[in-house]
Amino acid sequence: MKKHQKITLALASATCSLINVAADVQAEESADLGDWDINAAVLYYTESDRVSAFEPVISAKKQINDDESISLKLTLDSLTGPSANGAVPGINPQTFTKPSGSGSYTTPANEAPLDDTFMDTRVAFNASWEQELSRMTRMTLGGNFSKEYDYLSLGVSAVVAHDINQRNTSFTTGVSFSNDTIEPEGDIPTAFGIMQPAGSTQPRQTSSDDKTIIDVLFGITQVIDRDSLFQVNYSYSQADGYLTDPFKVISVVDGTTGLPIIEDATTNLSQVVYENRPDSRAKHSFYTQYKRNFTGDVLDISYRYMFDDWEIASHTVDFRYRLKTSETTFWQPHLRYYQQSEAEFFQPYFVSGQQPAEGSDNFYATSDYRLGEMTTYTVGLEYGEKYQDYGWSIAAEFYLQSVSEPSVKVGQLAQQELYPDVDAFMLRFNYDF
């Protein structure tokens, strides 16, 4: 009976369209009824001179009976280190007020300004319940909770997968809803309000704000032959509410010299205004993945095209090749290429006199490089060992972000690098109990 159950689970697993919902669907071959199938991983991420993150995660799945399972996942995320505040470099040192408004930090001459007060810890908990509705139909219901010092996210999701054609074809449809609340240090800045010296009253509007995100997903998974299968997904994401980054600012510079305008000569505070983004965003994604076995080796390649109503479009190609070196060991190289166009309201800096008036809620601008024209590259290598009862792997990856410089840079900005490359190193360890 138990063997029969395992075969049933294996067949279900092979044809299941695996959707990355709250608690991810695990490979089910090793799941015995009543036992917890536990996986753990820890990630160390570090950027040169910028952010570092340490992120342990553990997940557990229990097969309650033949057609029902529950999954739980706990994630911790500890971040520390400076991040770009959006201002341009200058030929003199520049001072900026911390988000709290009670202190300041100084950026050396000719360097991209980094806010070194950035530090946060996140706790996330996901739970999901998978139930077979009929012989060919499965449903997964999920719930997500994520809490940071200044951020709370609550979400629910539902996914239904239906198999036809002797389980060679699977249709998947899903919907998720989340409600996020942000209560940033120093409150929510007024759109295009001018940063004031530490200790002075800052341009602020409210203490907190929120946003809602609704995602809808349709997918089809098709088995091609004994060694290969592919998946095609379309997803739509609608975000409404506060989508601005309360910590990002935009420099105001002299139209001839390109020098940052001095807001306060006593403290050497540069004139910067707080950014403002639209309060809605609609994203469309097309995703396709192909997987093929070559006598034990596994090719895994995917492509994603995304576009949104902020005029951002992106291409992502991901390639992995799992090279089986023995019955228990493997090596897996990983390459990823990502390219995005800039948001229509991307604005590296304002020429003095052209910046919107404080409180111009209907004008949008950001200098956040993550919404600029950018190309990123990931190169990684993983080594793993897998045995009957357990397995482990270790991976090292290098990640490079290359951001395009503005086509027009006035005065001294022509000699400055507004968006220097960001390179990061990642080390990940996985253990399957």
Partner: protein, 70 residues
């Protein structure tokens, strides 16, 4: 939405019906490493990194979010 379901339905009835294997031919496809998301924790960690560093997210699954990092 109906159009998408219709297109997916047509695809499955026509081209896709020529593809596939018999139930007893699934020994390779049933291996854990042949799952479309064979390392869910790795995918989740990667998605979180890229979500916080780039303007796109999701595709394989839902768009993610749940953190103030972007």
């Amino acid at each position: 939405m109906r159009l998408i379901i219709f297109i997916l339905g047509i695809l499955s009835i026509t081209a896709c019906s020529e593809l596939g294997v018999k139930p007893w031919e699934r020994n390779v496809l049933a291996r854990p490493e042949m799952s479309l998301d064979s390392a869910p924790l790795t995918s989740a960690l990667d998605d979180h990194i890229y979500f916080s560093k780039e303007a796109s997210s999701g595709g394989r699954g839902f768009g993610g979010g749940g953190c103030g990092c972007n």
